[in-house]
Amino acid sequence: MINLQNIMETINMIEKEKLDIRTITMGISLLDCCDSDGAAARRKIYDKITQRAEKLVKVGQDIETEFGIPIINKRVSVTPIAMVAQACSEQSYMAFAETLDKAADTVGINFIGGFSALVQKGCTKGDRILLDSIPEALAATKNVCASVNVACTKSGINMDAVRHMGEIIKKTAWLTREKESIGCAKLVVFANAVEDNPFMAGAFHGAGEAECVINVGVSGPGVVKAALESLKGESFDVVAETIKRTAFKITRVGQLIAHEASARLGVPFGIVDLSLAPTPAVGDSVARILEEMGLEVCGCHGTTAALALLNDAVKKGGVMASCHVGGLSGAFIPVSEDEGMIEAVGCGALSLDKLEAMTCVCSVGLDMVAVPGDTSSATLSAIIADEAAIGVINNKTTGVRIIPVYGKTVGQQAEFGGLLGRAPIMPVNRYSSEAFINRGGRIPAPIHSFKN
């Protein structure tokens, strides 16, 4: 029988420590919407999304009311549009982005992911058209998120695509220059992208997925921090155990909500993503958990070890709490979306180089990092290449969501607003990577033996 203490613990987690369900994301396959006539394909896409996700927002709100836990986002991810659109002969996929945007508005969601291409080994005709359409698509739509997978452990790094992505990011920043280059905040460049990620901006519904599934992303950095507050001076054995227990509880709620949403929508349950996802709100920060472990400021020496422990303990606790775990599952470190990270960058404790080291042990990568607007496309590509190399060699997902904020430089700040937060502009290395990036071609897949 549940006792009063258990009930108060749950209520405190929700009310004081900001435990919430970060997203219920419906993954919808659009593979049956291919058509040699682009307009017909878009009609099918619009109809399918609006029919399948018609009740998504309402069901999310009902569950929120009955269980008393906030469900922050209801979203949709779709099959990478490059796969669907290339059956038609159009030379730009802008119209497809507009269709996704309209469908998102109709069903009342704030983001739809899947304006994507998987080019880790090479580009098809459709992939090229999609990549070229990204800047205009992100500038002209407000709900559409794009992602491009440029590398994977099995096939290496497509350096032509890496070079191209640097240029695409620069162009997107220019086209959205009136709004702090915010278009780049809706674009992720991945290595080892996962097919069932419910979190934006990198969500898409992979080709190996079912017709329609419900994936849920949980959150709760504040709950983990609160649990550690009573452990001052205790050993890491105790810290790791406490994080595991807390992650278990958080994930159990995610599992419950995922099953409830899946039953009410008549759509199979896919996965729970165990991620600790911060927001710019005070008390909802991953950086503050690391500091609670004993670091003066996030970014000082010891941060990578602290993050490694956190990430691993979250996975261990969460895996037992859910029947299917997937997505990115771990601790996110998006700079602009984490109040503690923003402060750490502001006071000079957290550099881009340290962030890169942290991405070796966290669940995603360089996320929501703002850099000077005059950063060259070759430098952006080189940052992507470094991050992809970490993912490919270590057999993990890494991503880059970087914003060269037009007209701004080190010392200034970009304000994105809402969940995207604000980001101090971080300096990049001033030496050139141009000749390196201009080589193009592919970096071969790594060997999986002789691990040292």
């Binding site: 549940i2 258990n6 009902d62 008393g68 836990i69 509880k249 159990r252 709620v253 419950l256």
Partner: protein, 89 residues
């Protein structure tokens, strides 16, 4: 469907009466009840059965919130499952 109603706030005469009156009006049956003063704060949890209630969940929730306002306490209602899944394996 079963749910936990939790009442937290300053102690005064009539809180239990005020809350259970809503249950009577909405035909909600009380299965278990536990009340104490924690750190000087009135704290109560009530396990209720909603099978035969004569309103919907949102309706009951609004009535309880209204009663909470009049009694100057905070009243929440949440389905039992969220506590079970978090605290029981």
């Amino acid at each position: 469907m079963r749910a936990f109603v939790t009442v937290i706030g300053g102690d005064k005469v009539g809180i239990i009466y005020g809350v259970t009156s809503v249950f009577k009006e909405t035909n909600v049956n009380v299965l278990d009840m536990n009340q104490t003063i924690m750190g000087g704060v009135f704290t109560m949890m009530v396990l209720v059965d909603l099978e035969k209630m004569n309103t919907d969940f949102q309706g009951l929730k609004s009535r309880l919130e209204e009663a909470g306002k009049q009694l100057a306490v905070s009243i929440r209602i949440q389905r039992e499952d969220i506590f079970n899944s978090m605290h029981q394996i």
